[in-house]
């Protein structure tokens, strides 16, 4: 009886310890990612933004993306009228791993585009924080975030998917797919007298209209060259 009790206690302690080790692993991994991202004090990136929202028909925009520590991010169109998703500030990965205190939870392994990733959940310690939960899909080999899901208190949820290339050393992606929630666009009554071209009127699936996507393909980064604060105003 004594032997059984001893074995059970040993097993329990082992399980607890294993859990701690895994949690520590996840913590260490997040720290590794954070260290990589913290090499960047500021950057200016040039790229193209493709917006895919049901009601919005716009051309591919040439954009410039500016970042400055700790959490300033601005996307500007090079020329012309542009629609920039408001939640695009979440593209800033620094925000997720550096901002505030959080508890790291290991959620096992998964795959993103065929690459094995560790799933890590970040729970903010502050009950009133705007971000309720962040789930990071981290490529352990390269210590970069491949995918991130953020649930916010007020502004719905966002999803980011990153592809890395020559700027991986700084944890900066070459391509970002940013998914966000949108409202249906309704035109106030009496604004237009539209030309009815006789096309069959399709009844769209309303649920389908709720997600928008912005795909930013970055051609070059200019890192740590200094950026004036006025850019972000």
């Amino acid at each position: 009886m004594k032997t059984i009790k001893k074995s059970l206690a040993t097993a329990f302690i082992t399980v607890i310890s294993m859990g701690n080790i895994v949690a520590q692993d996840a913590n260490a991994l997040v720290q590794k990612v954070k260290a990589r991202l913290e090499k960047v004090n500021d950057y200016e990136a040039a790229g193209k933004m493709k917006t895919n929202v049901t009601f919005l028909k716009v051309p591919i925009a040439t954009v410039k993306m500016y970042f400055k520590k700790p959490n300033k991010l601005k996307i500007k169109s090079d020329k012309g009228v542009s629609f920039v998703p408001k939640g695009a500030v979440n593209i800033n990965l620094n925000n997720m791993v550096s901002g505030g205190k959080y508890t790291v939870l290991d959620a096992g392994m998964d795959k993103v585009n065929g690459t094995a990733v560790r799933v890590v959940k970040l729970l903010p310690d502050d009950d009133n924080a705007e971000v309720v939960l962040s789930t990071l899909y981290i490529d352990e080999t390269n210590a970069v975030i491949k995918k991130a899901k953020t649930t916010t208190r007020e502004n719905g949820s966002y999803e980011l998917e990153m592809t890395y290339g020559k700027y991986m050393e700084y944890g900066l992606p070459d391509k970002i797919i940013f998914s966000f929630n949108t409202k249906d666009y309704k035109l106030p009554k009496g604004v237009t007298f539209d030309f009815d071209d006789g096309e069959a009127k399709k009844i769209e699936d309303k649920a389908k209209n709720k997600k928008g996507k912005a795909e930013i393909t970055i051609s070059s980064y200019s890192i740590n060259k200094g950026i004036a604060d006025s850019v972000f105003q």
Binding site: N52, T54, L56, K57, P85, T182, F195, D197, E199
Partner: protein, 297 residues
């Protein structure tokens, strides 16, 4: 024929009512331009109220010359048929009223020639009216508000859409739209002239034209399936706003606009054909009616 046309144009130019149309257009355009210059932001906030939560955009940048012209034309091209009727409805009945019609047909000119010349003169008036609109609504707006990418808001079927056309892809659309509008308003001119054959003064045909345009426009905008299917396709008013089709830019499957494209060229071509058919029918009917008319005044 050319001399006859010159005489007709001279007569139109001598009538004070001809200039009412030009003054009315200028007044409406200036009021729009002033209002948007002072408080265009509020209008943009209003039409983009559902987008404000999700997207950031410079609304003042969107209020540019191209956008302004579209907004003005959107309003004006509904009223302009009345201005066209003022002149075209006077073409035959005005002569009858002044007692010059009998004198006119006593000249060595066939009645067919006379009707064709009157119609041509009305068409030239329409053309001048649209050139005036292009100068005031487009050119002047471009000077006042500058030039940038053009924003179009529209309702397509059940859903509302925002289209963005790059600034280097806009001007040819306006040229095409004005050309289309010329054809559309020429239908009104042909209708007015046809009605004017049966009247002794121009008030009757002007009111009749306005009533026909009004009633048909209302029917064209009734969204009841039985009317949409059986009545709307046969009303010329359903095609008057077809000029907008040039601004409905083609898109890829995932919603990116394609420069230099039109979403539904076939629909515009069909509309143009129907409007041209209306012109041919109305002018032919005018020739037949005028030939058979017993002219006593």
């Amino acid at each position: 024929m050319l001399t006859l046309l010159q005489i007709e144009l001279y007569k139109i130019s001598r009538r004070p009512r001809t200039y009412i149309a030009f003054v009315a257009i200028a007044a409406i355009v200036f009021i729009f331009q002033f209002a948007f210059k002072v408080d265009g932001q509020s209008y943009m906030e209003f039409i983009l109220q559902d987008v404000n939560d999700t997207f950031e955009m410079d609304k003042m940048q969107a209020i540019n010359g191209y956008f302004m012209c579209y907004i003005i034309l959107n309003t004006l091209l509904i009223q302009v048929p009345i201005l066209v009727a003022l002149i075209a409805a006077d073409s035959i009945s005005g002569e009858a009223n002044m007692g010059t019609l009998r004198l006119l047909i006593s000249k060595p000119v066939s009645r067919t020639q006379l009707i064709l010349v009157k119609f041509l003169a009305s068409t030239i008036f329409v053309l001048f009216l649209l050139i005036w609109m292009a100068v005031t609504a487009l050119l002047l707006s471009m000077i006042i508000f500058g030039v940038d990418d053009m924003l179009i808001v529209r309702t397509k079927g059940e859903e509302a859409q925002i289209l963005l056309i790059t600034k280097d892809d806009v001007l040819w659309r306006y040229m095409a739209a004005f050309a289309y509008a010329t054809v559309a308003l020429t239908v009104i001119a042909a209708l007015s002239m046809f009605l004017s054959i049966f009247a002794e003064n121009s008030i009757g045909p002007i009111i009749a034209t306005v009533c026909i345009v009004l009633v048909c426009t209302i029917i064209s905008n009734i969204n009841v399936p039985i009317i949409e299917k059986n009545v709307k396709p046969f009303l010329f008013t359903s095609y008057l706003v077809g000029w907008k089709g040039f601004f409905y830019i083609g898109t890829t499957d995932d919603g990116q606009t394609i420069k230099g494209t039109i979403e539904n060229w076939a629909a515009i071509r069909k509309s143009l054909f129907i409007l041209l058919a209306h012109i041919v029918i109305l002018v032919s009917a005018s020739v037949i009616a005028f030939k058979r008319k017993d002219i006593l005044s």
